[in-house]
Every structure is written in C-alpha cells, then in structure tokens.
Symmetry: D2
Subunit: 455 residues, 4 copies
C-alpha cells in the first residue's frame, strides 16, 4: 500500500510531511464557529461592513451544511482545514471572503480551534466517566452483602463486599472526572485575536469573540496564546490517569471472568466466542480497555517530547499536537463506553466469590482485633495469638470458625465462646464500620452519597 | 562498586529488591506526624489509655529529635521507615508501643505518609513557580520598550517587547501553579484508618485524624484509600508540564546567551567558565534545566507503567512509587530555583535585540494592516501589496521604512507619506494595542495585573 | 464528526473497540503470502490435495489482484484482514477454502503477517538511512575546507569543517542502520505452524513455509511464537533512536537556516513561504522531522506499556501492536525521506560560517597545545598562559592571531614568531590530524571510507 | 530533610544542579583505566616522558587503592569524578600530573568512561539473562510431562507442558541476551583522543588506547565521539524489552502462586509472610520484578527526551545520561537476579495444574483436527462438529473424553471408538509434534538445544 514511496520526489515528500488536512478536518466545526464569531465581531467594531459580514456568514453556513451533508471536498492542495474552508469561502462569497482574515492569523486560528476541540473532549470524557460511575453504583446497590475476598498481593486478605469494591472505582473515577473538569476550565481562555504572535492594530474586541465561543475571556498574552499547548498536555495527562484506572478494573474483569476465579459472567455483548469452544467467552473488550492505557500514555509522551525545548512563538512542530490528542481522546471515549457497558453487564457469582473469600483464613485479623479489644492485649501480641490459632486451623484443615474452643484456649486461655461471633465472613464484613469501611451500613451511606451526586 | 553482586545468595537479592529504607526514610517526618495523630485519636476514643498514649507520644517525639540531630540509625534489617520507627519506639517506650498499631496497618500508614509528602511537594512547587514568575515580572517591568524579534520558525516575524516575551512565561507558569494547587487539593483526603483495606471494627474517628494532619476529611472508601496512587501521578504530570515550560525558556536562554544571538548576558552565578577561554560563559544551569524535562517525564511514565493493570488492593509494585516522585520533585525544585535565579540574572542587550528585530522586514504585516485599514482592501490583497513592497526593499537592500514612497506607489498608487508612520519597529510595537498585544500600554496593564497577584 | 457517539449501544461500542480491519488491511500482502506458503506446504505434505491447493492458490491470487486494483471491499463485519480474505476466498473458491485453515490459527497467522511487515519496515528504514548518509557524504565531499564553529554549549569552541560535522551524522546513522539490520535478522523466525499456541498434530513442515517466506527458519517454541512482540519493540526502539539523531540534525538545520546563523540556505522544496514576507523561508520540513521523535518514542512507550505484565499466550491486548508500529514506521519513513532531501538541498554559506567561527577566540586551545609542545609546559599551566593571552586579545579587541608578539611575550617570554602558525582558523583545522580529527587530510580518508561502504 | 532549601543562594543552587560527583563516582574504575591507557600511550608516543608517565601511573594506582579501601574522599567542590581524581593526582604526583590531560579533554574522557561502564552493564545483563535461562531450562527438564493449561485471554485453551511454557521464556530471554550482545559490540569504539570535539594536533595513537581498553578500535569522527549517546539508549531499550519479558513471567508467578491458581509454591526466600496469617506467602519479589519495567522504560524515555533536538557537540544536558543508566542497570541486575532465584525456586503443583487444564474442554481442537484428518472434512466444518459435541458434553456435565460415542455419532455419524485416542489431555499433549510444538518429544529436543548453548 506504500510500496515505492515518494517517487514523486521532494514535492511528494514535502506534501506528505506537511499536509494536515487528513486529520485536522476534524476541526471543521470549531473552525467555522471561530470564523463566525470573528467576523461578527469585526462587523460590530466597524472593521468590516455589515454587508461583507453577512456574505461571509452565509458562506460559512453553507460550508457547514456541505460538511454535514458530506458534499464538501477536502483537498490536500489546500494543506489544512483552515485553507480548505477559506478557499471554499472564496468560491462561495467572492473576494469579500478575504476580509475574514483581517486581524487574525493562522496561528491564533489553529490555537482557538484546537482549544475548542480539547475543551469538548474534556466534557465528553467527564460524561463518559459519569456513565461508568453510574453503572458501578448500580452494581454496588445490588451487592452490599455479596462477599468477595479483598486481596493483597493477589492473595485473599480480608472479606469485603462486591459493592465496596465497585465503589473504590467510583472514587477513582470521581477524581478523574474532576481532573477533566479542572482542565476544561483552566484552558477556557480565547487565543483569538492574538494574531500571528504580537496582537493587532485593529480595534478588535477579544472579549466579544471569547464570549461568543463560550470562553471565560481572552488569553492575556498574545505570545502565550499562540505558543502554549499545556492545555492539550493536561487533557492527555488526565486521560492517561483515567485510562490507568480503567486498566485496573479491566484487569480485574479479565481475571474475574476466567475459570480460575469465576467471580463474574459477561454476556455476549462484550465478549467474543470461539466456533469450537461454544462455552468460551473471551473478554476481548476488557483486554482492549486494559491496553488503551499504553496508547494514551504514548500520546502524552509524544506531545511532551515535541514541546520540550521549543522556542517561542510558533514552530511547525506544533502541528504534531492534533493527531496525538485525537487518537488519545478516541481511545478514551471508547474505553469509557466499553467499561460503562461491561460494568453494567457483569453478573457476579456470589457463591464463587464467597468460596474464594473463605480461603486463607481471612478473619485472622478480626480474631487479633478481638484479642486486643476484649483481652486488652497490645496489637503486636494479639497478632501472634491469632497467628498461632491460624496454624492450628491449618493443621486441622478447617476454617477459623471451626477450630474447637479448647484448641483456641490452649493458645490463649482468655478466649471464650464469644470469640466465634467475629470469625465468620459475615461477622467480619459487618464489623468494619469505621468511616469508609466495608460494613454494609457504611457502604449504603456511600451509595446514597453517590446517588445524589451522579446525575 | 557493584562488582561480584549478590554473592550472598537469595537473602541478599531479596534484601536488595525488597528493602526501601534507603529512600523511604524521607517520609520520617510524615510518619511521625501520622502516628501522633493516630495515637492521640485512639486515646480520645478510649481505644488506648491516656497513659499509653502519652508514653507513645513521648517516644515519637524523642525519635523526631534523634532524626533531626542525626543520631537515629536507619537499619536495613527493619526494611522500611515504618518498621524502623516502630522498632525504635519499642526500645524507647516498651511493650506499650505495640498499641500504636491498633486499628491501622502498614497499607494505610504508607498511603498517608506519602500523600502528606506529595501534598508538601505541590506546595513547594507552587512556591518555586511563584519565584520564577516574580523574577520575570521584574524583568518585564524594566523592558516594556526593549524591542526584540518575535519569532516564528526561529525566523524574526514581528517586533515584540522583551517584557511581553517574559510575560508569556508568567502566564504558562500561572497555569502550572494552579495545576499544583488543584492537585494538592484533590489529594487532600486522609487514608488513615482504612487499615489493611477493609476498614476496622475499632470505634476510631477518622475525621479527627484527618483534621489533625491538615486533610479536608477522610477518604470515603478504604479500598481506594490504600490502592490509589493517582495523586502521585497528578503531581508528576503537573511537574512534567511545568518542566516542559521551563525547558522552553531554558532553550531560549541558551540561544540568547550564545554569540549568534547575544541578546542576554548571564553572570558567573549561573554559568561556568573555561580556564582557557576566559570570555566564555557556558550556560550550564540553563542546559540542565532544559534536560530535567526528560527525568520528570520519565518518572511519570515509570509510575503509570507500574500502575497499569494492577489489581486492587495492595501490591508490592506500589513500593516503586516513592523513588520516582522523590527524584522528580527534587529535579523540579532545582529547576525552578535555578530558573528563578537565571530569570533575575539575565542582562538584556537592547541593541543586539533590536538589530536582530530589524532583519527580515518585520513590519510587513503592519504595512498590510495599513493597506486594509486605510485603503479598504481585503486582507488577502493587502498581503500581496505588502509582499511586493518587501521585494522592492530587498532589491534595494534597505529596510521597509527606507523604501522611497515612489517605489511604494508604483506597487500601490493609493499609498501616501502617512504610510511611514507604521513602518518602524517602534510604531509596530506601539500599534499592537489589542487586548493581550505587545504595545507597551497593554503590557504595563499586564504587569500591574501580575504585581497584584504574585504576592 | 463523532457527535452522539455509540447510539447503537453495546454492539456499536464492541464493534468500535474490537474491529481492526481499518488498520490491519495494511497486512493484506503479508497475509496472502503467508497463506500461499501455508497451502503450498499442506499440499506437498499431503495434508490437502493438489487440486484443493490449486483452487485456494488461484483464489488468493485473485484476491491479490482485487486489492491491487482497488476493487476489493474491506468489510467491518469481518473484523480483521484475515477474516476479510478468508470470507472472500470462500466466495471465490467455495467450501474448499476451509481447508486453508488446517494446522494453523489466527494467532500464528497474525504473528507471521506482522513479523513480515516489520521485517520490511526494517529494510525500508535501512534504505532510508542510507539515502541520508549519501546526501551527507556528498555535502562532506564538497566542504572539507569549509570552516564552521564546532560548538560546545552552543558557544563556538574550536573550528571544524562542515564536512566533518556532516560525517558525524553519517556515523550516527550507520549505527542506526546496523540496529535496523540486527533487528530484522533477530526477528527473522517464522511463527507459522505454531497454531493457536501449542503446535499441531498435522504432519506439517514449518521449515518449508519459513523458507518460502524468507525466514531463516521456524520459531522454536510455539507459545513464544504467538505471544512475543519484542520484535516490534526492537524496531520501535531503533526507530526512536534514529529519529532522535534526525531531530538533532533537524534542530541544527532550523538554527543554521535562521538569520541569527545564516549558515545554510534551503530551497523552496523544503521550506514554506509567506505571502507577505517573500524572503522568508520557514524550515517546516526540518521542524516536522524534529517533532517526529515524539511520535515514535510515544509508540515505543505505548507498546511497552501494553505488553507489560501480560500473561501468555495470546491476549487481545496484542491487537494494539499494529497501529503503533504503522504510525511510527510511516513517521520514520517520512522523516528519513525529508532529511535525505534537505541534506542534499542545504547550500552552505562559507562566509557566514567562517565569520561565526572567528568569534570567541576559537584557537585558544591551539595556543595552549603549542605551549605544551614547544615550551614543554604541563597542560594545566599551558591553559593558563593561553587564557591570559586571550584576555589580552579581548582587551585589544582583536583576534588571537592579531595580538602583537610583544604582548604575548609579556605573558610568556618563551613565545616566538613561530606561534602565529597555529593561531589562524585554517592552521587549527589543518593541525587536528589525529585519527577521527577534523583536519581535511583525515576527513578525506573518512569520505573515502564511506564512499566505499554506502552503495 | 530538604526543608528551607537553597538558603545559600545562587551558589548553592548552582552547586546542587551542576555537581555530579554524587553519582558519577561510580565511574571511578573506568576513569582510572582510561587515564592509565592514555598516559601509557602518551609516553610511547614521546609526548610525555617515561618518568612523568611512571609518576602519573603510580599516582593513579594509589588512587585506585584508596578508592578500593574506602579512604578516598570524594569532594563536591571538585564537581565530578574526573576533577576529583585529577586533583588528588596533583597532590600525589605534583605538577607533573598536569601532563595527563595533554591531548584529551573532559568531553572525550567522560564519553570513554561512560561507554566502558555501559559496555560492562551489557555484559552483566547478558550474564543475568543466562542465569534465568538456566534456571528455566532446569525446571523444563523436570516437567516435560507436567500438564498445565495453555491460556488465551486468560482462559484455558489447549494443554501444554510446564516445560514448554518455561522454554517460551528461554526463547524471549535468548533474544534479550543477543540484544545486549549486539549493543555491547556496536558501542565498542573508543572516544578517547577525540579531545574537546575536533581531534588534537598531538601525534597520539588512538588505536593503542582503544586496544588497551578493550575497544575494537577508535571512533572515526571526533564530533560524533563526544556527542553521541545512542549507545546508552540502546542499552536502555534492550533493558526495557528484557524487563518487559521479566514482567510477564513475574505476573504469571504472582498469579500461579495465588490460591485461585495454586500452580506453584514459592519458598520463604522470595516471599514475605504475615505475622498473623502464617500460611500467607506474598510474592513480593515477583511483584517488584514486575514493577521494574516502569522504572527502566522511564529511563529510556528520560534520556531520549534529553537528547531530542540537542545540537552538536557537547552540551551540559548530556550530564543527565548517567543517573538514568545507573538506575536502570541496577534495576535490571536486581530483577534478573531475583527472577533467576524465583525460576529455580518454583515448586509446581502438577495436580492443580492438571485440574485447571481440564476446565473448558481443552481438547476440542484435537477433536476438530481428528475430524479433518480422519473424516477428510474441511477445517471450518470440522470446527462446527467439534463445537456441537462440546455443547453436548457441557449439557451432560462431563469432560470431552467421557461423552458417549452414541452422542458423538448423533452429531457426526462417521466417528468411531478411535476418536477417544485424541480426547485426553495426555493424548493432546503427545500429539502436538510439529516443530516447536508442546509434545514431550519435541520439548526434549529443545531442552537439549539449550543445554548445549547455555554454558
């Protein structure tokens, strides 16, 4: 498909490396919006005439319709989205089209378009995060008493509820959402009117265009306005961190859906089958979500490396910003949508979870805590007592709550029948009533907390 | 220095890979603070006795003094900072020391310590950013009329003031500072009391310990509290972006200080000399600041890769979090301090800057804008007129404001003597009065804006 | 363009995340080659009949023609390139097509296709590297006596020839080329016949298919064959390092082409102009080459992060390998082609280079070396003598070779008229005759060395 | 520990950012070796006298002894290892010490030292890789008939032997080892004698010093010799890829050692226990090995970013090379040593592995292959037949080899008693005799292959 590349010589090489229309056409809507705001302002300020402004606005609207209808032809000879639209406008509106470019330059135009796009990407990511959170809260609501092992080092350590586990991700995602929100707000300053880099002598009103485009106001320094790309990097870093969280949940889904665990079942919607093993459900979607972290992190690295050591103001290197952000935003959108779907789709198998939770004497710490509380021993001594009783249970081949009291008392004579109240999984779960703990009473409070906020 | 490694066999390998005291001793202050808050709360809640709590607090204070005085011995046999302090406390306070560990675990302890450290790192970064901003605003104040070339593609494009250029970085840094601020706030929830991962049956008051440690409140989910490291990643990402901005300024300083530019002179404080070329001033500090972006980005990549796909709750992989954050924070602190110093140290050479600004007909866009405004031509046509006059100037070997009016009128008969008012560098600078533009009147407003805020 | 995403529900999400035909269609040629080799072997081994094999081969050839002619319809419902070809083959060849899949699986098929593609990418990169080297050697040949400053810290340090500078990059690129060569060889083992992961009971001959596809032999372990992607990572790492070298040369081209340096002139072929500043030549191609390092490094990071911690054998995460490699290979191809073009296109301005080389007393080390050699002083003392004379020159405002002998002798009485032989740029250049030095006699040897090898 | 930083003002900041002795003291041995080779050559070439050379060599030897004995004082005032040694040499040997620096500069000196260090790191990595391979081959030898599930998507797919699985990693590691070998060879050119950047007028013999230091020869271009760091990047990329392989095995060890799998048992040597759960063995070492990928990848990213766009020849940015390489090399050494230990330490539980292998009808593909071979059906049709029989087995709740023949014949009448020969795990394993397949006969050949090579 690429064989015998660049036989066209320098011209072909230069076109291949320089032309951006193949990807920056995704800025079409933003470019039109920016141009409309700009020309409207120029007319209000008397810099172009009402009539010229009307003609330009009509042309821009016509272009918008052409793009929406798929009849607009993007041409590589016009290099980028800005010149593509500009040249079409000249066809539609005649020489008057040239007045649109008064008091602006491609540098502030591209910065404005791109900032609008990234701002929307932040908003879209926030929405996607919300969808995952809602699905997880719904799972939590149904499973405050479904016991699963809480793991450390992939080994069962203490029982928790499936609800509690789901809500851990709701917390992570809440911070992700707030990062996108902060990023969107911080970038919400309009570069439009910074012109090439120094501002312009025309009596423009940048506050007006900023407002028309939903910005909080105009950027305060024209050099910064055209040179900065930290807004894109901040989006990419928030996306990287969010995708890392998704990869952790995706890893758990892959494990939980495997026969070794059998904690959940995913429907056909998010798995693929095998013609030969009809029972097999490969968690492809979860695996792909897990992998997206790589791509998104890669984009952050790419753009940071591009920006590193770049002198002000505009350099063509900046053209590398868009593909990275587009690819990362697409990957994140997809990962969030797939995860929202899977989070809702999971069917927990309470029995399998409970069986796994019973392995490894998971109420040993409950026993130790009991020894501290009831017998007044220091924590470290209590740990040793509990450890000795666990060894006894291991030798007997029984669970902790099935060790005979006599055996326990041979380790610690102060123990009474009462101790059995803390040794079951349910007792352990119910006992962890500290704020943020896994006790159903606490978890239900958290569900209520999130129900109220996730709207 | 490493020759014949691991001759001690598995024990030596395991110690080498597992022990963290060599780096996590930097958490000593945070660990002591966390323990004090915890035991104070335990006493108030009646979980440990007043007397035990007093003994523990005294022991912790004694340890704090030993560390401050350098008499504390960190031992590899105790693996990490937590066990080092715990074992010393047992020596100082006796068996009662064991009660400190009631209702907490190493998992929430390390999460709390590290979060406190990173929160301080955010604060320190904010302060470092402020110092650079102040130095730049001071430079700006002195140079609102010092003309230098505004570059695109490293080619002079339009004149700007040195003040305006400095303020572009003040803007970037303001966003950096606000990112550190947001990060510090978002992470300001206390993991303490999450215990191993599930909460605890002891009647602890997590709000109390949270408040004592300056947190806004306790983390709402115990699994999240011990598993999450997005707070560290957010700090690293903000640090990466900030270091990228510093690398851009550092690159400019290296260029400006080179004979090819000669725009600034740095004192001996931030340069190194050569015994053989006494006039040479190597901008070592600027080069090193430029390079730090690599290290900090590397840390973000490292920790993201560690976290990717990690199942909840605690895994030993998380131990890799601290060295990356410490290294990045140190690098950033240094880069900010060095940049604050250099920003104040730069002595601009106004003549050299102006000479460079004169190259390449930098007022060509002013001429075009004039043609638009005064002759009412569309922007694109005006561009062609200006281009033709530039060609004329090039042929004559003179600057734009020295092209005879007759020559100009042969291109565009509508031009009059009046045109010369816009063709000098000073005229161009003064004309760019749009909000955010480089005109001194605008720049002085921005200086006032920042003077008020940077306190 | 993406508005209201995923309104089709789970099916649309799953398709969007799972389907790979949009990018893996670039493996079409490799897939056809692999299938042909496979079925030919199956027939030779008597696993399928001659007739069936013929029918399948004819079908595959027909598909190859359809793709070449652009009449093949890639369908998203068939998910990937393998199923697209398989389903078309079934249409063309009937049920017999099903026999093609005997003794193989999609796992070894995709591993084979992708390895073939990456092997070709290595070869293409090697060729691209060679083109840049040739252009640089040609420049070197013309400029063994064109003096420019050798820089340290961006400050002129010692004179070198432009030829010598060009050849430094030829060396770097030679190592890049050899890295691609090593990578191509190391990956040259055939996964075909590894089947799903365990090998197959069919009496296949993997050596035969390996040979048919130009592999050195079959991979020795079936699990490794389908699970490994280090070959892709090795290509990406070699590409990253190569692109880093290109970015260094690109940075120099951007600087050299700027008015501050004026060392070279680039033609219109690799620069873009400005409608308003006809003399301006923006080095867009060089800037874009410089930026590509980011993208390629990002791909290496992305795929490493995807692979990290991935259990054997096949997981869907691996599907993320191709887009990263395709994007990086395309970027590298382009960067190499653009750099080859620019390296040939550069027109050095010998006067400007020499003027720059004269700044900063660049023969001071020659003076010191002279003092060591002729006066027998230890190196450190000689440095101080030279430094003192440089100071004198600075005070007089003259170059080193214009300091009166008397002034020199007031610093070091042992100096004689003879010293002036080493103080000119030309003398310095000619004197550096150590192996690898910049003396024209040495540089010409190096040119001959490369002329012989770069064919 | 860092409170109130930089109260010493610029001097303290500059020292903190500029001084490298804290880390580059690890180059002491290399620096001494380089100096010895250099001065020996200077004497042979008659550039320094025999006596001076002797005095210098004795001084260098004395310094070597001081460092070995720990009596050498590294001083921050002397900035780096080179000046520390140089200043001590001046104390020991008097003014004659100054002659050592004839015909070299710190630029070629540091490049030589660092290259020697990295070359050794390659050798050490190769050795570490070999140790892991040997341990895996030893495991393989004992387990050619130990059946475990071969996984796709973490779901059991086909039976393989534990030996076969171990050997997959032996293959990956073999490529890692050969990458380190290639890297070590490619970098094996001596920068010594390149001097500052241009070569030297002294009649030095660079081939002599190259040989003395074990280099294949001198670097051919002096600018390249002092500017290039691709050798460090190549080491880091090979280390990244190797650590990625280790992370995959580490992930599997963590999973295998968990109760959900129970495939292996690790001894206390590579696990940590819990005072309270005596039976718990946390696979800390495996988790830390898994995490090291992050750190090593981070180092590659860091140094690539530092190098990106760096103009020739020397810039202080290059000082950032060493810490990254040291940290990555240490991490890799540790990870390899820990993995070699764990690979030998694993005690497979054959029963648990077999039980897991039985899940999910893993001989379904064997059944399909049988239908192809014995009944002559096309592959795709055979798949459907096998799928239907699997469904039947699922309905009956039995393994495939327990489905009554009658039931099978209701799906495919052509089947006979003979089919049962392929339906057991053992039959499946033994049948996969294609080259690279998991059949014990094949695997034993591979073990012999590796036994011969790994010495």
């Amino acid at each position: 498909m690429w064989g015998g590349r660049f036989q066209g010589g320098p011209a072909e090489v230069m076109e291949a490396i320089n032309v951006s229309i193949d990807f920056d056409k995704r800025l079409a809507a933003q470019d039109l919006a920016g141009s409309k705001a700009h020309v409207t302002m120029l007319a209000r300020q008397g810099i172009v005439s009402k009539a010229d402004s009307e003609a330009i606005l009509q042309g821009l609207d016509a272009i918008g319709r052409e793009i929406a209808e798929g009849t607009f032809t993007f041409k590589r000879e016009f290099e980028d989205i800005h010149l593509n639209i500009e040249s079409r406008l000249a066809e539609l509106a005649g020489p008057v089209a040239g007045r649109l470019h008064t008091a602006r330059s491609r540098n502030d135009q591209v910065a404005t378009d791109f900032r609008l796009w990234v701002r929307e990407a932040c908003e879209r990511a926030r929405h996607g995060v919300l969808m995952v959170q809602k699905a997880l809260v719904a799972q939590a609501e149904a499973h405050t008493e479904t016991i699963m092992p809480g793991f450390t080092h992939m080994q069962p350590a203490q029982p928790v509820s499936f609800a509690h586990h789901c809500l851990a991700y709701v917390e992570m995602l809440a911070r992700d959402g707030s990062r996108f929100s902060d990023a969107g707000q911080r970038m919400n300053e309009s570069p439009l009117g910074a012109a090439a880099l120094a501002g312009t002598p025309f009596p423009i009103d940048r506050h007006q265009t900023a407002q028309a485009l939903g910005f909080d106001g105009p950027a305060r320094n024209s050099l910064d306005a055209v040179s900065a790309r930290d807004f894109a990097l901040e989006f990419l870093s928030a996306a990287t961190i969010c995708s890392m969280h998704l990869s952790r949940l995706a890893e758990e889904i892959v494990l939980w859906a495997s026969p070794a665990y059998g904690f959940i079942r995913l429907s056909d919607a998010y798995t693929t089958g095998s013609s030969i093993m009809p029972q097999k459900r490969n968690p492809d979607a979860a695996e792909l979500v897990r992998a997206k972290t790589g791509r998104i992190l890669g984009s952050f690295v790419a753009l940071t490396t591009v920006m590193k050591g770049l002198a002000l103001a505009y350099a063509k290197d900046l053209q590398e910003d868009k593909e990275q952000v587009f690819a990362a935003a697409d990957a994140l959108d997809l990962a969030l949508a797939a995860m929202a779907g899977m989070a809702g789709d999971m069917k927990p198998d309470a029995d399998a979870m409970k069986r796994a939770a019973e392995k490894g004497f998971p109420t040993a710490t409950d026993l130790a805590d009991y020894v501290v509380t009831k017998l007044g021993k220091p924590f470290r001594e209590a740990h040793h007592i509990a450890g000795a009783i666990v060894k006894r249970a291991e030798a007997l081949g029984v669970a902790l709550d099935q060790v005979p009291l006599a055996d326990m008392r041979s380790v610690e004579p102060g123990l009474t029948e009462d101790v059995f109240k803390v040794l079951s999984l349910e007792a352990s779960l119910n006992s962890r009533t500290s704020f943020g703990g896994t006790a159903p009473v606490r978890v239900r409070e958290q569900i209520a907390f999130w129900r109220e906020r996730l709207t």
